[in-house]
């Protein structure tokens, strides 16, 4: 609970932050601090320096483009996202998930960029940005680049961010008409992290059949799981309870399921089935309005 000594930098621009990160490779980037600080207090992380990007104005705020796309600064808090009308309109799945993160205190300080860059597989946002086909914008010494969410998460606490790069923005395309979504979480009673989190999106054809579907999971593997086969099986179906149950039962495969003292791998797979069905049904009901 008592961290070792470290240097503290508070850059005022992204450019300055990138330079600082380049000049001190042992540094860690601090956004809301809700993942990094606990590790430092337990002396599990002991960076020589902390670069606090939390007060860079360019990294805050939510912008909705005319196209409907959301541009969310990496240091926007979970609370801001959960309560943003623009997010609730364009990507209600993201608002719904953000509202389930941690507790009130965590949501007021924790940020979307910090959450995604930390890449904790039990966190709530990774599967959601994958399901939403979001794009993550990173800034580094070589300039700016875009990373599709599906390619961002590599492994436990590991992303495709390069040393020296900072995650700056999350771009989320708007969900279309006739689309419903749902995020459901089965949380661990101690941490509130997801033993399993299911993000579902369902789009309807004018006749009520399934035009498109997405089903992604947090917590069950070292990285977000995209259950594309389940989604594929649903396209064209009538989205009845039976159709959803069958698609999940027949096509859900969790690659490399994780098991630990909190939940075994086999139980997590069962949770994924149960939550996947429920999230899809709720998304369908919302799509039907």
């Amino acid at each position: 609970m008592i961290p070792p000594k470290f240097d503290y930098h508070r850059p005022t621009s992204v450019q300055e932050a990138v330079q600082l990160l380049q000049s001190s490779p042992e540094a860690k980037v601090l956004a809301g601090g809700h993942s990094l600080i606990p590790l430092m207090k337990l002396r599990l992380a002991a960076p020589a320096a902390v670069i606090d990007i939390g007060r860079i104005p360019d990294l805050r705020g939510i912008q909705a483009l005319d196209s409907g796309e959301l541009r969310i600064g990496a240091c926007t808090t979970h609370h801001e996202i959960a309560t943003s009308q623009a997010v609730q309109r364009a990507a209600p799945l993201l608002a719904e998930a953000a509202a389930q993160i941690g507790d009130r205190q965590v949501r007021y300080r924790g940020t979307i960029g910090g959450n995604l860059a930390h890449a904790d597989p039990a966190s709530d946002l990774p599967a959601v940005v994958v399901a939403l086909n979001a794009t993550l914008q990173a800034e580094g010494p070589q300039g700016s680049r875009s990373i599709p969410a599906a390619e961002f998460f590599v492994d436990l606490m590991t992303t495709t961010l390069q040393p020296g790069e900072i995650l700056t923005q999350i771009r989320v395309p708007a969900l279309g008409q006739g689309t419903g979504s749902c995020y459901l979480k089965f949380e661990h009673p101690a941490s509130g992290y997801a033993l399993c989190g299911a993000a579902a999106i369902v789009s309807l054809n004018p006749d009520g059949s399934c035009a498109q579907a997405r089903l992604c999971f947090n917590g069950v593997s070292a990285r977000p799981v995209d259950a594309a086969a389940v989604a594929q099986a649903l396209v064209g179906s009538d989205l009845s309870d039976g159709a959803i149950d069958a698609a999940v039962e027949d096509h859900l495969r969790v690659p490399d399921p994780v098991g630990d003292i909190h939940a075994s791998a086999s139980y997590r797979q069962e949770l994924a089935k149960a939550l996947g069905k429920r999230a899809l049904k709720a998304a369908r009901d919302r799509a039907r309005g």
Binding site: M1, P4, F186, A190, S266, L271, K273
Partner: protein, 787 residues
Amino acid sequence: MTHGNGTRGIFGSAIKRREDPKLITGRAKYTDDLQLPGMAYAAILRSPFAHARIRHIDTSQALALEGVLAVFTAQDVEEAGIPGVVPVGWLLPTLKTPAHPILAKDRVRYVGDAVAVVVAEDRYTAHDALEAIQVDYEPLAAVADVRQAVEPGAPAVHEEAPDNVAFTWEIGDREGTDTAFQQAAHVAKLDIVNNRLIPNAMEPRAALADFDPATGELTLYMTTQNPHIHRLLMSLASIGLPEHKIRVVAPEVGGGFGSKIHHYVDEAIVSFASMKLGRPVKWTATRTETYQTDAHGRDHVTTAEMAIDGEGKILGVRVNTYAAMGAYLSTFAPAVPTYLYGTLLSGEYDIPHIYCHVTGVFTHTTPVDAYRGAGRPEATLVIERLVDECAHLAGMDPVELRRRNFVPPDKFPYQTQVALVYDSGNYEAALEKALEKVDYQQFRREQEEARRQGRYLGIGFSTYIEACGLAPSALVGQLGAQAGQWESAVVRVHPTGKVTVYSGSSGHGQGHETTFAQIVAAELGVPYEDVEIVEGDTEAIPHGWGTYGSRSAAVGGSAIATAARRVVDKAKKIAAHLLEAAEEDIVFEDGKFYVKGSPDQAKTLAEVSLQAYLAHNLPKGLEPALEATAFYDPANFVFPFGTHVAIVEVDPETGQVELKRYVAVDDVGNVINPLIVDGQIHGGIAQGVGQALYEGAVYDESGNLVTGTMLDYAVPKAHFLPAFETDRTVTPCPHNPLGVKGVGEAGTIASTAAVVNAVVDALRPFGVTHLNPPVTAEKVWKAIHGA
């Protein structure tokens, strides 16, 4: 509601706690808030191994750090020539008592065992220096599991107990019980685990030792539930200063649940450091240290059997328990799974034959000691699970089986087969009230209907009894206690009629400042606002034993009432003298003394008190001043009881248990403050639900505590719990002056069993007969799906 104008009804009134404004506005001073001139900070190096030999400790690099004042190890303690141990305060005939040195000598025995202490100018430097101490450990095989520890060949925690058996103990009639079982129509047999729990007081433990080399006196501010016990043990066993040279102060203490009863090495270590350095030294546990070193609770593995006849009458109970002691014997550890457990195995029932055998077991884990309920929740879980299982075997309603076996109201005092004499009770009244509140028959219909729809509701009962306010001292002494069980009080009326009360109880969240003032206001007939309560300082309070085992109202409150009545007796003599009447003609009412029939010629207590201090005109031979002291030693335990009912719904797809309703009907005797009583019941229920559904310390094969943080160890959160529905029956305690019993532990004692019974009831359609707590979602899922 105003109470300043009179005191009628102040006893029993739901006034708000007077201590809360300072607590909730952050103005209360806790140990860690204290700053003394020249104060240094301690950090304690703890073993990362569950079992290892210490080959060598090199402190030179730590000492070289700027700001480090000293590093002490066992060698320094030895060279200082002080006793240097923490003792066990409850002895049993077969108990092995290996020494527990304040700093580990040669060998560490659990993850968290104290190895060295750094004292530095600031807390950060002290913690940095911990990493600079080089300890050469030779890791040894460890055993953390209570049953594995008694297997042949298990690594021994102490040479004195090569088989890891700390003690064996039995109570009841073995042969009679065996014979009774032969007559049984049904025998329920369950393997029951009382899971290991980690106390989580909001305030971590802390100690600030201030040794004055000029006077040779040590002042020790610390997080304690019982400053006098700490003073005694500190003097006798730890640092060797004479008792009158030690002052122990409990500033505001933020919860304890038992964990701050015990005498730990840490307060002895900082006292030793302060004595060596001649400077005040402060240590505050990190939450990690809290998890590793605060004495844990429960950790029993039990085989339990109950025999009933064809009519559902209980014939006998047979229990065999292995109880973990951890790596060392904590202060009252041997009492918990014995005299606070085996003696409770009659529950609320008239059981003709009981036999209980307990093996206390050393393991390479954090020591285990009293944690809210202490032995009694464990016993309640055993008995209440057995009763449900018997009802199931006999095809009877679990409520009906309980009813048939209750000790009836006309059978008190009731001598159980396990030593206790229940002084009073009316168990069926509490049960009936609870049944009415839950609308039992209606629930059973809903349950049946829900099952047809694939929904699984369950109801669980816990008709519990608790023995608390341990007493009397002579009896408890015969059972092995190295402590008395009376309590002290001084009631001092000032010349102006204001009152200061000094109590040997030591509150740490219970609201004593409010309830004790209510007692005194009622006894003396003075305004509640005119009464001040002082606790938690061995210099201010002559002697005492503190707050644990739900004893403060029953024992501490009784001491206060007794002292207050002595004040009235003396004041009556003075009033009679002033009113020129015979003492027996004086009436005392609403804080006024008057001659029978002449209430207008009254003297107030303040008027009498002024005369008592002026001493110008006192009855011949009467000493001046108006105060009284009482040392109250109760005649018996007190016996709260009641019925708790939990209603749950189980999600068959995920195994998730939702606690939908919780009804508690408790009988804690006369109630001093209903608001505080309800608060105690609420908190107690929550902690018991924690044991039932969420909490459980887990050690790995090497003895590492893997549930070592709040990320991994689940304490119940507000949103897991329904709004509790509480009610009461009132059966006053017949043997203390206030008719009160204890309330601090009742909720915890009752609720674990109620919730576990409810989950098993919900899962009956799946053929489930028992689940051990914590009943996690995965455990339930596996039970449903036979996985």
